[in-house]
Amino acid sequence: MKRTILFGGLGFLFSQVAGAGEVMLWHSYRAAEQQALEKTVRDFNTSHNDIKIKTLFVPYDAYLDKITAAIPHGHGPDIFIVAHDRIGGWADSGHIAPIDEFVKSAVRNRFFQKTVEPLIYRQKLYGLPTSFKSVALFYNRLLVKEPPADTDRMIELALAAREKKTSDGQNIYGLVWEHSDLYFHSGFLFGFGGRIFDERGEPVLDSAENAAAVSFVYRLVGELKLAPEDVTSIKVTSLFNAGRAAMVINGPWFRGEIDAGRVDYGVALLPQISRSGRRLMPFVGSEAILLSARASNPAEAYTAMEWLTGDEPAKVRMIEGLQPVANIAAYQDPRVKNDPILQAFREQLKHAVPMPNTPEMQLVWVPMNHALVNAITGRATAEQALREAQLRVSQQLTSFREGRKYQQQGEGRGEFLRALAWALVLLLVLALATGVVFFRRLKELLRQAWAERSAYAYIAPAMLAIGLLVFVPFAVGVGLSFFRHYQGEYYFVGLKNFIDILASREYSVTDPFSFYYKLFITLVWTATNVFIHLVTGLGLALLLKDPLMKLRRLYRVLLIIPWAIPNYITAIIWRGMFDADEGVINHLLGIEGFSWWNNTFTAFLANLVTNCWLGFPFMMVVSLGALQSIPQELYEAAEVDGAGRWHRFRHITLPLLKPALFPAAILGCIWTFNMFNVIYLVSRGAPNGSTDILVIEAFRWAFERGERYGYAAAYSTLIFIILLIYTLITNRVSRATEGAFE
């Protein structure tokens, strides 16, 4: 208390001088939650003269990356609301600071123990919880009168619901949830007695209990077809809102997405497993306000933090934002006592497992999700799938811990900048040396440049822009590839990254994660795409140039549309069209329920179709232009010479199109080689990353496998070298076909 007054007073004084007194709060709340939060912030600001909180909403998809990137550079938040699971990593990398020195036990006791535990890492407390989130069972009261107490009953209800149809004749799913996401699967995993890490912190993903949980889920989805095989969070929401999902396993945020007018719903505890009597126990995560290690005024920041997690603001968030807050007292409020939903989540908290906050946990998600997909779609048994996940996670862990080795050797601090400085010096020396050796030519060059200086003045802005936007990032990227990134620091490893990639150290050559497999698939991807683009584009151009086609102009416009729509939108739409149960394509082909993502070939095909739809207009436009530049007389001469349509095409059209199509094909190859959006958004690499191309693999190394920025940079550099060689070769060849026309 005394401290607060002291710091508050100082803060007041300093705020006049330093212009401080402002605490920046970042969050990614939407809808009701956001409004409730803003209300509490406004309340804080009116009641405090010396400190003002400013909020910034960052959309969730970019949120975590933004935090990780912004804080070390000093333009991140002072405090931010986030789920707890990154705490370990951020603590290690110095993004967040512990708050032990500020916190009194009275404050700690406001909250449920289980919500504070996840915020402790290596015996230090890093934040104050705002709410907790775990999944529970949502049910549609129209289809489920009483929530099931055990799994047998749940299955019974689900099967019964499946027999019914909605008022407009659509089918109903018994139990819908994101079954192939470990977060939502956790209830089953822990309910069946499984574990993720053992006491030593080693992964034990392939235990018998885990397999039992996965088999159980396979029974629900793969055999009984209670849920669609291909589920996204948006699908869950839209199915529930359309009355097509009897039960849903989802978290408190789901309340904000339910259309309460359409669906009469309730929330209950997840049931017990009939056979063992154990309850399904999902992950519980704390959402907390964390303190940035670079906060300009930690004391002020903490004051804001503590106030926002007070009992009264918590009630606001609970009642208006529908958040299950972490404050015990809030649940005594009469308004809350009679809200069965909030009480349900509070109950579930008793049967929930805190999600680990260690950096090692980050490596578990993707392999486990792959395992779930594989097992549920029947590509592998539960045991096989989990064994593969265990293998992958172990591999990742080993290489991740290698990074820790570097950290412990302590060579890291500031080394990247030092290396950059050295590189610049080296470049300068090289430039000077070149200047000296080629002095005369240099003088000539400079003299000419000076004579043409006004020309250079015109292009100077563009040169500057290209320099800053292309060359500088490029140089930094290449430089990065000689380093290993671990927990915020860069350690020099020389060519190790390149050697690891090219010698396929971590994966055998035929493993889908190896560089060579990715290279192979990228080449196949490029070749098939460009070929189809050319053939389709040219074919359509030949059809359109016929002057007898009256609606020529209309067709041209229609056919350019694929090109005009941003390609990530197209990708998302096509993915929807390929959906196994609801998608238009399966419907037209009569193969409802067939999942395109199950099998490398069909997933590749789906990507191919989407990208061809995107790519042919370019070739068509180029071909049309080139076709129109071929003089009609040549065709007449050929006609008189006796050439039929095919011969005219082969001997006149094709050779004369080459000068135009060749550059187009070369460009098309480069663009397709690096086509990130389509594959990332359509097949998403399914199954198991086997349709990912090189550039996506680089991305995943950077952002999904423990922040291996150096490795990813090395990958990117290799991609660049491949494309550079390709360009040089094609330049040579294209010069040979230049000037077919006079």
Binding site: E633, G644, A740, E742
Partner: protein, 355 residues
């Protein structure tokens, strides 16, 4: 080699009629030139013969066979285009061989024909070059070579010399004439240049506004034009036309009266009315003093071998050919004495020749 017959051939694009009622008979081995100003329908007629345009009405027969619906490649014709239409990505040899390859001739025969044509046209040294490495004249010869190797029944030339410079044109004209002699081929040739027509043709077909104005041997057409248009088109510089009134064997013009020669008087004994008097520049003598038609000189064109003087007679401009070296001052007065035995008379309304 074969004869070509056009019977009442017409061509329309929708409502617009560009060729009307063309009747022609081209004998085997004959060199016929279709000549006329731009837009007269000569190229369209040629293209109809080639099969590159559909015939709207009438029949075209090649060697007695009606070919209206026959594809160009089956008509056994070869065409030389105005802009040569050489295949830019093929060598000269390949260009010439292309048509034969399409007809699946055996390789030795193709080579033999190409070599032969190259020899005739002096292209032997250029066989491996691409069109862009050739001059205009060389390209034209390649285009001709491409036609020759086909050994067709009929050669069609579409203004082949229009893209060449004046000197080259003269050279190539001679080449084409030589070619005709050598191959004894039936040639149908289109041009807007009446000099080419006069020098190359066995017979000329003068066309205007889609219709045939006159068909005949060059000299015949020159000396006995069927109507005013032909008279004005053939011959360079063109014939002078003076509007007159014809009565009783005399023509009365703007400021002059001329007596017809006795032969003409007889023919036109009962004629009277408005006419055009046609006199070629070389059928008028320039005299320094009367008698004659008074005229004032405006411009003179010394050509070296002769001088063309443009004089004003009343409202008209008259061109007269005089022997060099005549020095003429603007405004100088002269008296013109036309040779009335060489006079032409055209009905003022219909344009038809009265003599």
């Amino acid at each position: 080699m074969a004869e070509v017959r056009l019977r009442a051939v017409g061509k329309s694009f929708g409502k617009v009629s560009v060729v009307r009622d063309v009747n022609l008979h081209i004998a085997d081995g004959e060199f016929v030139v279709l000549v006329g100003p731009s837009g007269c329908g000569k190229t369209t007629t040629l293209r109809m013969i080639a099969g590159l345009e559909e015939v709207t009405s009438g029949d075209i027969l090649i060697d007695g066979r009606r070919v209206n619906d026959v594809h160009p490649k089956d008509r056994d014709i070869a065409m030389v285009f105005q802009s040569y239409a050489l295949y830019p990505h093929m060598t000269v040899r390949e260009n010439m061989a292309f048509g034969l390859k399409m007809r699946k001739l055996p390789r030795e025969e193709i080579e033999q024909r190409v070599e032969e044509a190259a020899r005739i046209l002096d292209l032997a040294a250029l066989l491996e070059r691409k069109p862009r490495e050739l001059s205009g004249g060389q390209r034209q010869r390649v285009a001709m070579g491409r036609a020759i190797v086909r050994q067709p029944k009929v050669f069609l030339f579409d203004e082949p010399l229009s893209n060449l410079d004046a000197k080259l044109r003269v050279q190539m004209r001679a080449e084409i004439a030589r070619l005709h002699q050598r191959l004894s081929a039936t040639i149908i040739y289109v041009t807007h240049d009446q000099v080419e027509a006069m020098t190359l043709a066995d017979r000329i077909v003068v066309m205007e506004a889609g219709q045939v104005q006159q068909v005949g041997r060059p000299l015949e057409v020159f000396e006995h034009p069927a109507n005013r248009f032909v008279a004005g088109f053939i011959g360079s510089p063109s014939m002078n036309f003076l509007p007159c009134l014809l009565e009783q064997g005399k023509v009365r013009g703007d400021g002059f009266v001329l007596e017809l020669c006795s032969e003409h008087k007889e023919k036109l004994a009962n004629h009277s009315g408005r006419v055009f008097l046609g006199l070629r520049p070389n059928h008028i003598e320039l005299k320094a003093s009367a008698p004659g038609i008074e005229a004032q000189a405006e411009v003179s064109e010394p050509m070296g071998t002769e001088t063309y003087v443009h004089l004003r007679v009343g409202e008209q401009l008259v061109t007269v050919r005089a022997d060099s070296p005549l020095v003429v001052k603007a405004g100088e007065k002269f008296w013109l004495q036309p040779d009335m035995t060489r006079a032409h008379l055209f009905d003022a309304e219909s344009g038809k020749a009265l003599l």
